[in-house]
């Protein structure tokens, strides 16, 4: 049983504070959704936790299984068990998905330990079959010329191979048509289980029809202002973000 604890987190880009004191605890097996309008700091939160160098954590802490990860580089955080599914995954021309994933798997092995290529491909193909991804996919350059749906499936495949303790999924639904959304969601639901905690960031309630969260949080101006179960998402969908704004104004 693992935990990811975000404690009173403040994040700035340059001089501008974006996340303004956010606290949240995610345990293994739980799926949390963070919803909120554009510009409220959702993506900043996920990138800061993953260790993007452009985002400065000015105060607060992030603990993975009780230990702070803030002093770690992005690659160390990933090896410790974090995974960021990007809203806009980078295209890496000339690097095949197979070689890329191989390097990522190799990075998790002890120094001097050699990757068993046969076992690696066996596992890769099993994950691809599970996610219904064509095997030809592996020889293509990472995300290069991919459709929105292919990019997101590629993210899910990486997540399946790297088996993180916690996945931060940043606007996984953006740029997807309804068929692609269904396929990607099926992938996430396949990976869902007692050993994985998920933080799903989304603007629209639509995604939550496919990946049903255990908890829903509403983020507003850099903070979580409301938490509840999945019914909160439906209420938001019906009433819109203005409803939150009015409630905040009353409080």
């Amino acid at each position: 049983m693992s935990s990811l604890v975000i404690q009173d987190l403040h994040v700035a880009i340059g001089e501008k504070e974006i996340v303004k004191g956010l606290s949240l605890t995610i345990n293994s097996g739980e799926v949390h959704a963070i919803m909120g309008p554009n510009g409220t700091g959702k993506s900043t939160l996920s990138k800061a936790i993953a260790g993007h160098p452009d985002y400065t954590i000015t105060s607060g802490d992030v603990l993975l299984d009780g230990a702070s990860i803030l002093e770690k580089e992005a690659d160390e955080r990933a090896r410790a068990g974090l995974f960021l599914a990007f809203q806009y995954p980078s295209e890496i021309p000339g690097v095949s998905i197979a070689n890329f994933l191989r390097a990522a798997v190799q990075a998790r092995m002890a120094e001097g330990e050699e990757l068993d290529a046969t076992a690696y491909y066996k596992r890769l193909y099993a994950k691809m079959d599970m996610l219904k991804i064509d095997r030809k996919f592996t020889s293509r350059s990472v995300n290069e010329g991919f459709s929105g749906g292919e990019k997101k499936r590629c993210e899910i495949l990486q997540m399946a191979m790297l088996e993180p303790k916690f996945a931060l999924m940043d606007e996984t639904d953006s740029g997807l048509d309804i068929d692609a959304l269904r396929i990607v969601s099926e992938g996430v639901n396949t990976l869902r289980g007692p050993d994985l905690g998920v933080l799903m960031i989304t603007h629209y309630q639509r995604l939550l029809n496919y990946i049903v969260p255990d908890y829903v949080h509403v983020m507003w101006d850099g903070r979580i202002v409301k938490s509840g179960d999945k019914s909160l998402a439906l209420e938001l969908e019906a009433k819109g973000y203005d409803w939150v704004k009015k409630e905040l104004a009353l409080a």
Binding site: A50, D75, I92, P93, G94, N99, A103, A107
Partner: protein
């Protein structure tokens, strides 16, 4: 004072390659070599001795580290007793291994290829047995990258090298491997390969230049001649992996005839300072030369690449793509010129030099150029220098890959555009492996 320094640096110099050394070299050659060849060597030595060392004001050496050019402290090495095994994991039709300028070992052609007239032999043998062919093609193109002091030195001291002849219409399934080793401290070597693909012939040459010890100061002045007859298909892969303290000069000349296609890929890894000159002459309609190069420059290495694409006939095509990855304090120079002769209408020429800067201290110099005398042509050239994209780097790091490995992957990705031009997947994989060793050193 300034002028006296310039005078000194521009004075003729022979360094270790004295008239006595040249006389000893001539005396070491086997008897029976054609008189014209010995005469050419004497003339080449006289040219070498009379020419000044390149100076700071020589346009052909612009940006080069002139003070790194030295002829001192080298010697013509003794015969080698053992060569290192160079694992280039591909199947070959035949193989010649030269060590310190002498044939060390060989793997001969299959009997059926010999019966069809394919020749893979030493230059010394070819000078006697195939004199007319050698005379027509060996170092037949005059130097075009400056006065040619080092080319003259090469011709003067060239003892032996490879001779490959593929007769009309013969296609070789597997590459021919040509290996040149410099062994021992201060060794000076003068490798040469002469490759003739007759009309409609098809052949791939894989040439390797290497040392046993990366810390030994060595000297190499090499050259090759590639000739593609009408409709021939010639692929040439050169891998330069000399000792990291070697000083290397290599001058390659390619002649492409009607409807012939030559693809060359030079991989530059070794030497402390390496100059590589590459000349393509498109002599008849339909000729196509694809010129590719990959360089991994690290520490204080300097790679100096000079190219010429000369379109001498209408409807000819050339396509040059040179990619350099620069680390540490390394330096690269690319100076390329596309020349289109007045009657070479409908020329299609492309030239691109791309530099990936992996260090703040590295320096890439680019001098692309055009000299067009025809009016109906398409010529494009460009040079770029870029750094690793931080978003790509973060993406890889976010998957647990450390920064060094991430940069290595991105560098391979950068190179892949060139490696993908190779039709042969085994060769592609072998080159990747060789580049990998450069990163893990």
């Amino acid at each position: 004072m300034t002028s006296s320094i310039e005078t000194m640096s521009a004075a003729p110099a022979v360094g270790s390659f004295t008239p006595e050394a040249f006389a000893a070299h001539l005396a070491s050659l086997p008897p029976g070599l054609p008189a014209w060849w010995l005469e050419r060597k004497r003339a080449a030595y006289a040219r070498f001795a009379a020419l000044p060392m390149p100076g700071r004001t020589d346009e052909a050496w612009r940006f080069s580290n002139i003070s790194g050019l030295t002829l001192d402290g080298f010697a013509l090495p003794a015969a080698a007793t053992a060569t290192p095994y160079a694992p280039i994991g591909i199947k070959k039709s035949a193989k010649l291994v030269f060590a310190n300028g002498r044939l060390f070992s060989r793997e001969v052609l299959a009997a059926d290829l010999v019966a069809r007239g394919v020749i893979v032999d030493t230059l010394q043998n070819a000078l006697v047995r195939h004199e007319a062919l050698v005379k027509e093609h060996l170092l037949a193109q005059p130097p075009k990258f400056g006065p040619g002091k080092f080319s003259a030195l090469h011709e003067a001291f060239l003892a032996d090298g490879a001779f490959v002849y593929v007769p009309k219409g013969v296609e070789l399934e597997h590459p021919i491997g040509l290996f040149h080793y410099a062994l021992g401290a201060d060794a000076a070597v003068f490798p040469h390969s002469l490759v003739i693909a007759a009309d409609q012939a098809k052949v791939t040459i894989v040439e390797y230049f290497g040392s046993t010890d990366d810390t030994e100061a060595q000297f190499a002045a090499g050259a090759n001649d590639l000739y593609a007859g009408h409709g021939a298909q010639l692929t040439y892969i050169g891998k330069q992996d000399w000792s990291h303290r070697a000083l290397s000069f290599q001058s390659n000349s390619t002649v492409v005839r009607r409807d012939a296609r030559v693809q060359s890929l030079n991989l530059h890894l070794g030497a402390r300072q390496a100059r590589h000159e590459s000349l393509s002459q498109l002599q008849a309609p339909g000729a196509f030369s694809e010129m590719l190069a990959l360089t991994v420059a690290r520490e204080t290495q300097e790679f100096d690449q000079r190219t010429l694409q000369i379109h001498q006939a209408p409807n000819t095509k050339s396509d040059l793509l040179y990619k350099n990855a620069l680390l540490d304090q390394a330096k690269t120079i690319f100076s390329g010129l596309i020349v289109v002769d007045p009657d070479a209408q409908k020329t299609d020429a492309y030239q691109s030099n791309r530099n990936l800067m992996l260090s703040e201290q590295a320096e890439a110099n680019s001098l692309p150029g055009l000299e067009i005398q025809a009016n109906d042509v398409r010529c494009t050239h460009g040079a770029t220098s870029s750094r690793i994209d931080p978003e790509q780097e973060f993406y890889l790091q976010s998957r647990g890959i450390d920064k060094t490995t991430a940069d290595e992957l991105l560098t391979f990705g950068f190179f892949e555009e060139v490696l993908n031009r190779l039709a042969d997947e085994d060769l592609h994989a072998a080159l990747r492996t060789l580049i990998q060793t450069k990163f893990t050193k």
